[in-house]
Symmetry: C2
Subunit: 560 residues, 2 copies
């Protein structure tokens, strides 16, 4: 383990990048399939996947984690590091990640593209405007909002109930003051007054759609299906009714193309799409993952939060919708984080505590069971930290042996791919030796209640699910609309297996309460809310933006 004190941005700026054209050429991508954005980023044509239709799919490795703690798990760093390590042991690998949102970058210091010597570059661009995908999504989302209010203002032929417009507006910023607003003030020339709000762009259904659409046709069809409002008789009004899907598709035609960048060690990476992992499914795009599986033999990808949210949705929603057949799941943990799940305070983590560790392993155990319940082999990867002791590591290894779980230590932050070679070898060996038999946890033709109950009992370990009266009424309506055949997208706290963020470890004897449902008919799922979900973050007292700047040569300063 290195004790270097270089920051992520310093490391990123020290990277010897290859030109992106060279990276593309190595992937046998032709000039026509490739659009450079500067010398280190590019968009790739969706036709690549069609061209390689006959080639067998590469192996898809999903990286997930225990329930996140303030100690940090380093899931993205591990994902990048594993991709680099596979490359180092001579395998043809590619990484498929989500693209970060600008809002949080301006708020709280913290990168979103891996870290140390396992990050994607150019990290400044990736964390700022990148290739404009999020701006395109913001624009398409808000163009629809403008068309809705214009429709109402111009006579409201569709009979939209102004109290039942569910389509809000979005900005890719943390802006608390926009959470609840009144628009249309100022008299008859300024539109019709009504209360609404703004979400952050990554919470837009357009983002979820972009990430689940297989191609432009499918994108347009899904956009057309979005429900934006209801009539006074509670009948849904869709984008198709407003004839807005063509213009929205036009605004999104370039955003649909996966973005090619590279890692610190020049491993190719596709970074594309990044929906919320609570009110949406929290995975990078189907288009990028499928393209990646045609371009390389091993695809390393990740999903948001812990396995109870990100992996569950990757496997029940994304893989099913996109026809992706995953081969193996890496569950990331750290000794520190496991100790927090065992009840240790954040400021006590540097002290050895084997008992707390053993208790915290229960959380890991549940996620390992979940992976197996989808028919997939799990490997536990431990991101090493300076203060991890041998006794702690031995205790974890002993547990893994007892459970028949593979476990590997990795140190990819400080050592890059080199620090993940053992993990890479284990991944390749397991895929070779263990037959995977991925299957979703539930079929689509059961009721929405049953789907929610299956996820709650099998993934969360809950004793049951309670539905509020409001939720039951909504479900009745959804049945009438024919929406009950969609998969469920659970919106639950990421900090606990239960719906109570304070219950760390592996809680038992709890029920989950579904308070409200929200349809995402374009994306193709029904969101079940088990608590309040924040879809527009605020800025802290001292936002990270205060320290951001450019130097004399126009380079980024203060960005992580």
């Amino acid at each position: 383990m290195s004790q270097e004190m270089k920051s992520d941005i310093e490391i990123a700026q020290s990277c010897k990048m290859k030109s992106i054209k060279e990276i593309a050429t190595q992937l046998n991508i032709s000039e026509e399939e490739f659009e450079p954005y500067g010398h280190d980023k590019a968009k790739l044509s969706l036709s690549i996947t069609d061209r390689l239709q006959g080639r067998p799919d590469g192996k898809v490795i999903l990286v997930t984690a225990i329930n996140p703690t303030p100690a940090g798990e380093g899931k993205s760093t591990l994902t990048v590091g594993l991709g680099q390590a596979l490359h180092k042991i001579g395998e043809n690998s590619i990484i498929a990640l989500r693209e970060p949102s600008l809002g949080p970058s301006m708020g709280i210091k913290g990168g979103a593209a891996g870290g140390g010597y396992s990050q994607v570059v150019p990290m400044e661009d990736i964390n700022l405007h990148f290739t404009g995908d999020l701006h395109a999504i913001t624009t398409a989302h808000n163009a629809l909002a403008a068309m809705i209010d214009n429709h109402i203002h111009r006579g409201n032929d569709l009979n939209i109930d102004v109290r039942r417009v569910t389509w809000k507006r979005v900005v890719d910023l943390n802006d608390r003051a926009l959470r609840e607003v009144v628009v249309g003030l100022g008299g008859p020339l300024q539109g019709v007054p009504r209360q609404t709000g703004f979400d952050i762009t990554v919470a837009s259904e357009v983002m979820a759609i972009l990430c689940l659409a297989s191609d432009l046709d499918d994108l347009k069809q899904r956009l057309a299906n979005i429900v934006v409002a209801y009539t006074p008789e509670n009948e849904p009004v869709t984008v198709k009714d407003l004839q807005a899907e063509g213009a929205m598709s036009l605004l999104l035609k370039d955003a649909m193309k996966p973005n090619l960048v590279q890692t610190f060690e020049n491993t190719p990476a596709l970074i594309h799409g990044g929906p919320f992992a609570n009110i949406a499914h929290g995975c990078n795009s189907v288009a990028a993952t499928k393209m990646a599986s045609k371009l390389a033999d091993y695809v390393v990808t990740e999903a948001g939060f812990g396995a109870d949210l990100g992996a569950e949705k990757f496997l029940n929603i994304k893989a099913r919708t996109g026809g992706i057949d995953p081969d193996l799941v890496v569950v990331v943990a750290t000794i520190r984080a496991l100790k927090m799940h065992g009840g240790v305070d954040k400021d006590q983590l540097d002290e050895e505590n084997v008992e707390a560790l053993k208790k915290g392993i229960d959380n890991l155990a549940k996620h390992v069971e979940t992976v197996r319940s989808f028919g997939l082999p799990p490997i536990v990867a431990i991101n090493r930290f300076l203060h991890d002791t041998d006794a702690e590591i031995d205790a974890l290894k002993t547990w893994c042996e007892q459970q028949g779980v593979e476990v590997v230590l990795a140190d990819v932050w400080a050592q890059g791919g080199e620090g993940g070679i053992q993990l890479a070898e284990k991944v390749v060996k397991t895929i070779d030796e263990v037959e995977s038999s991925y299957k979703p946890l539930y079929p689509l033709n059961i009721s929405m209640e049953e789907k929610i109950e299956i996820v709650a009992s099998e993934v969360y370990g809950a004793d049951g699910v309670e539905f509020t009266e409001n939720a039951r009424e909504q479900l009745k309506e959804y049945q009438r609309y024919g929406w009950d055949r969609l998969p469920v997208c659970m919106a639950k706290t990421q900090y606990s297996l239960s719906d109570d963020p304070k219950k760390v470890g592996r809680p038992e004897g709890f029920t989950v309460t579904v308070r409200e449902l929200r349809p995402a008919i374009g994306a193709g799922f029904i969101v079940a809310l088990t608590g309040n979900v924040m879809t527009m973050p605020g800025l802290p007292k001292e936002p990270a933006a205060l320290n951001m700047d450019i130097d004399e040569e126009g380079r980024a300063v203060g960005l992580f």
Copy 2:
């Protein structure tokens, strides 16, 4: 004149584009100075202008027009056509245009990048997201807004009066319902409620700043100077007080780089920045115009609306601020538009009417006088239309001869550069023969009232200026803040030389009323409003967006 019925987008899509790299190579731009965005767009490093510091500036030709009418004048088309024509006669020419706003494209059918065989390409990209400059401006503008509301929410150390926050938010869309909004609703965790609104992005002071900044340092300084609010004691609060200029500069660092594209005939074009021509100065960026004048011998550029707004501001604000020394002004008119200034209805324009034409020429005459008052030689360019008669053209030529004004017919929409060769030859000859002696109309060290009076009397032909009591009080405050040494930016109707849009031709015996002033201290001018200015357009009953779509190959459909 051609009678072809091809649409602008059909013509654009038939263009045989050169790769943008080839265009850049022809301009001796090196790989390091050049960032491709796809194969047909690029951003250029500001270091190019520094590298060519020793090279003499190319000649700068400003294209302006008579007061716009519903008949259309074709100023952008003429600008592109003249650039192409100069190329055709063997001159080294380049075009410098504004970049279009997305909002109006979604609203009312109509291109913003020239037309016919005199347009810039790829027109779809230029009219959609282009290289993301407008999205970057939107984001920087709204990040500042979020930081203001967050500052107020987090204790308001700067003592901002929530009733005196002048910084609104922006979207690059036509969205009437956002003109007047209330934000911060929902209780103590959601910010502080206050009334505010949204403008369209091109009305943002950030856009005006980007277009007047000479480099990144100057950009940051100007951003720091923006006044966003006042204290209860009416003291200005600036971006510098909020420490937001660094983050805003970081968000704008790529947007500051001029964009390189080409015309239908492969003439290089820099398209960069596009502020409003009423509450801002209506010209493309200083950075692009200066770079263009280093890259070529002839730069053809344009300014918004008629010469009373666009050219006046180009010459009193942009050229003075940017140290640009223009050489010649082309005043564009059409026989049809002049007949409208002579009182003819729009549906009577196909009929010959020499008397009305003669009367309408008065409007042209005033703009020609204005150009001369800046010490510059004018050339009148007539964009030919099908129904123009010989008698009408003769009448116009006769008037020009009497006034000693050069006049040339052009047909660049249908014929491209070929249709502007006579004009190009006349431009080159005039620049060779006539000594230009550009000087602004007024010095900066006189009072704001005097500056406004000089513009009103010398450019508009007004008898005088009236100031409302409110305006007088504002001017007194501005003097106290030291803002009276800035140039004035007049916000007046574009349809008339007066402040009454109904007074076409050359009105006489009128006064101009200044109702309100708005400081744009970052941009470096004081806006004087003579009427209501719409800074957020609305959508029509049937927005153009309804017809927009993508075809099976993902190409734009229904965009103009």
